[in-house]
Amino acid sequence: MARILVVDDAQFMRMRISRLLMAEGHQILEADDGSNAIAVYKSSRPDIVLMDVTMPKMDGLSALRHIREYDPQAKVVMLTALGLESVVLEAVKAGAKDFIVKPFELPRVLSTINKLML
């Protein structure tokens, strides 16, 4: 079981991902934008972060950089509709562990989580 921080500005997407992962036995924390994600990460130190890219206030790439600066071991996976090669490269350079494009398939998300928890 992992403690997973789900970061997405879309309430519906947070609910959907959270419900699917809780059914697999994971514990879920939520944040609705990049700056809240940083605050929740610092206060709760989740095992894994699932991070959207396009969000108001602070986007996911900026939040990824802040979290990795605070904790270079942070395991952040980008989970986004924006699967552009340039965005993937930017995320990988900033330290993202994986990049999953929406619409996502649950087995793909679970396989990534399992690999990161080894």
């Binding site: 309430q11 519906f12 609910m15 959907r16 509709a81 552009l84 929406k102």
Partner: protein, 165 residues
């Protein structure tokens, strides 16, 4: 409007509908429209910026919106509450994100805004000198109508932004 921008959106919408709603999609007839877009029940609007710029709108009935969020979440929604609204907006976001990957593969690097959901009949959205390309997609649950008002960004504008002048 450059009709080459159309296919990425039709393909992306068809793929997302098939994957998320588990149903077939049939494309209706294309048409062009210069007059303002007048809202029906629901419209998800996103801005595109970059080498392709303009707006994309996904128009649908409330029933179709509810069918989408119910199918995607596996729970029945009978009213368009805040959670359902977020789901309809996300549906447009996911299609547009996927379309931008296809646009990038065709050489147009483009970013998208967060989605805006417009509810209620009769609001007018003018796209001014952009002619809209309209394509309906039919499913067993209802129709999603894509409105595209897009154009390739002029090379000179891109050079100014890159600081070439």
């Amino acid at each position: 409007m450059n009709v080459n921008f159309l296919n990425p959106f039709i393909e992306a919408a068809s793929e997302v509908i098939q994957s998320e709603l588990q149903t077939a999609v049939q494309r209706g007839s294309l048409k062009f429209q210069k007059s303002a877009f007048v809202t029906n029940d629901l419209a998800v609007l996103l801005n595109l910026i970059g080498q392709v710029q303009g707006i994309v709108l996904y128009e649908m009935s409330t029933e179709m919106g509810l069918a989408i969020v119910s199918r995607v979440s596996g729970q029945a929604f009978d009213e368009l509450d805040e959670l359902a609204q977020s789901g309809v907006a996300e549906f447009g976001n996911v299609i547009t994100g996927r379309a931008t990957v296809k646009l990038a593969q065709a050489g147009f690097d483009t970013r998208i805004s967060v989605p805006t959901l417009i509810q209620g009949k009769g609001a007018k959205i003018s796209t001014f000198d952009f002619t809209r390309l309209i394509v309906p997609l039919q499913t067993e649950f209802g129709e999603v109508i894509i409105h595209l008002a897009l154009r390739a960004r002029a090379e000179s504008e891109q050079e100014i932004e890159r600081g070439a002048f």
